[in-house]
Symmetry: C2
Subunit: 283 residues, 2 copies
C-alpha cells in the first residue's frame, strides 16, 4: 500500500468548442488520470482562482485579471485567426445607428472585445445592458446584441442560409478583431495555479501532454468527432466539422501577440491590470 498522489483537479467546459479536447481525452484514456469538473466558464474560472481546481480553462479577461497567480499551458488555447463563427455582434439596425447593446451575461472576453470595437474602431458610445443570452429577448431591449456559443453558431449558419433575406446584421467578432489588429483572437487559455505548478511540475507536464495529444487525436479525425457529437447536438456533422476546423487551438507567436495586443487595449481602458509578463508552465 502506498499513499499515491491525488489526481489533478482539472476543469472542463462543456461547450462545443471544447468538445474535440474532451473527445481526445476519452479516446486516449487520459480521462482516467484526471479528476474532471465540468462547469460553465465563469464558474470554472472562479474555481481555478479560488484554488478549488489545479488546472483549467480560463477566459482571456479572467486570465489577465489573475495572471500573477497563474501559469499558462503552452500550445493550447481557444481562438480564431479570422472568423470564429460563434462570437457575434448581431444588429437589428445599421451599425452607425446602434444606441443600445445587450451583452450576454455569460461572457466576459467577447463582451469586452465588442465594446472595444464599437467604441474605439467605430466611435460609437452606446448604452449597454447585461442580459441572459437569448437573442430575441435581447433585441427586444436593444439595437444590437453580443452572443456567443451555440446560439451564435446557429445565427451564423442561418444568416449564411438566408443570404440577403436574413433580418439581422451580423459581425463576426473574430473576423472583426483580425481586420482591426491584424492578429488572431484568443478567447481562452488553459492555466495551472502557480503554486500547484511549483509543487507538481511533473503533473502539469503530464496533463499538458494529455491535452495536446488528445487534441491532436481529435483534430486528426475531425469527421469522427463531428459525427459522434452530431447525435446529441443541434448541428449536423458537416457544420460541426467546419466549426472545429475553423477554431484555432494553437498558442504560437501570433496568438501570443494577439493576447498582448488585446491586453494592452483592455488595460488602457482600465478593464484589466497591465500584463507584465505571461508566464508559461515548464512542460
Amino acid at each position: 500500500m502506498n499513499s499515491g498522489p491525488a489526481r489533478p483537479r482539472v476543469g472542463h467546459i462543456q461547450f462545443l468548442n471544447c468538445l474535440p479536447l474532451y473527445w481526445g481525452l476519452v479516446h486516449s484514456g487520459a480521462l482516467l488520470d484526471l479528476e474532471l469538473t465540468k462547469d460553465t466558464p465563469d464558474r470554472l474560472a472562479e474555481a481555478l482562482v479560488a484554488g478549488d481546481l489545479d488546472i483549467g480553462p480560463i477566459s482571456l479577461v479572467e486570465y489577465l485579471r489573475h495572471a500573477d497567480e497563474l501559469v499558462v499551458l503552452p500550445d493550447l488555447a481557444v481562438g480564431s485567426d479570422g472568423p470564429v463563427l460563434s462570437v457575434l455582434l448581431s444588429t437589428a439596425v445599421p451599425l452607425a445607428e446602434v444606441r443600445t447593446v445587450a451583452l450576454g451575461s455569460t461572457s466576459r472576453t467577447s463582451v469586452l472585445l465588442a465594446r472595444m470595437l464599437l467604441e474605439e474602431l467605430h466611435g460609437l458610445t452606446p448604452t449597454y445592458v447585461t442580459m441572459p443570452p437569448d437573442l430575441p429577448l435581447m433585441l427586444r431591449e436593444a439595437d444590437a446584441a453580443v452572443i456567443i456559443g451555440d446560439v451564435a453558431l446557429r445565427e451564423t449558419y442561418e444568416a449564411e442560409r438566408d443570404g440577403a433575406a436574413h433580418p439581422l446584421g451580423l459581425i463576426d467578432l473574430g473576423a472583426a478583431w483580425r481586420d482591426w489588429s491584424g492578429l488572431p483572437m484568443v478567447f481562452a487559455v488553459w492555466a495551472a495555479r502557480r503554486s500547484f505548478a511549483d509543487q507538481h511540475p511533473g503533473v502539469v507536464k503530464e496533463v499538458h501532454d494529455a491535452f495536446r495529444a488528445g487534441l491532436d487525436l481529435a483534430l486528426g479525425d475531425v469527421a469522427a468527432v463531428a459525427a459522434r457529437a452530431a447525435r446529441f447536438e443541434v448541428f449536423d456533422p458537416a457544420t460541426l466539422a467546419r466549426y472545429f476546423t475553423t477554431l484555432d487551438f494553437s498558442l504560437g507567436e501570433r496568438q501570443q501577440a494577439g493576447i498582448r495586443a488585446f491586453a494592452a487595449r483592455a488595460a488602457r481602458r482600465g478593464d484589466v491590470p497591465p500584463l507584465r509578463t505571461m508566464t508559461f508552465a515548464q512542460v
Copy 2:
C-alpha cells in the same frame, strides 16, 4: 440542423468499486454519449429520485424506498457472494460485549445490514451513534463501528497482514450475510426513472448496453484497470485486482433472491416498505 435528443443524465459514484465500470466507459468511448454526474452515493440517489438524473446507481435501501418510481437495469449491480472486503463491522471488544456501535454517516444499506446481523442474528441490542466515517474517532466513542469503502478495504488488508497481532476484530458483512442467508448481498443497483424509461426505452437500452460492455471490457482486463488505478489510489495493483474480482457486478437469480431476502427482513423491521415487485427496464 436538427434538434437532436439530449444526452441521458447519468450518475456515477467515484468509489473504487465503480472504477471498473468507469474504466470501461472511457475505453469504449461510451462516455461521449452520456451527461455524467459524479457525486456521492447519497446525493446521486437523491438526484435520481428528484428527477435531476435519468439513470444512476442507487443503494439497495434507497431503491427499496422508491421502487415504484424506478426500473432496475438488468445484469448489473455492486455486491458480493461472500466476503466483500470493503464493508465491515470493526470491533474493539468481543462481539458479545458490544454495547455501542458507531454507524458511518455516508452509508445506508451497510448500516441496516449491520443492525440486522447484530440484533437478529446475534441477539444484541446496542445503542447506535451516527458519525463521519473515521475509524479511530468512531472507536473512541463506541465498542464497534460500521465502515465502508476505501477505509474498510484498508482495514481488511491491515488485519490480514497483522494476523493475530491486529488490535481490532473484523466482521466482513458480505460474508456474514451469506453465512446467515445463504445468498449474495447486493449493495447497490442501477436504475432509471420509470417515466424516463417509458418515454425513452431506446436510450435506456443503449446506456445499459454501454454499461455492460464497459464492465465486460474492464473485467476482461482487470490487471490493466488495477495498474492504471493504482497510480492514484492508496492500494497497489495486486490489491486492487483482488478487490475488483471479489466484487460481484452481476444481478442474476441468486442476487435477486438476495435482494428479496434483504428486502423482506428490512420491511419486517419497518425500515423500508414491502417490495411488491422489482420492475426491470426492457433492454
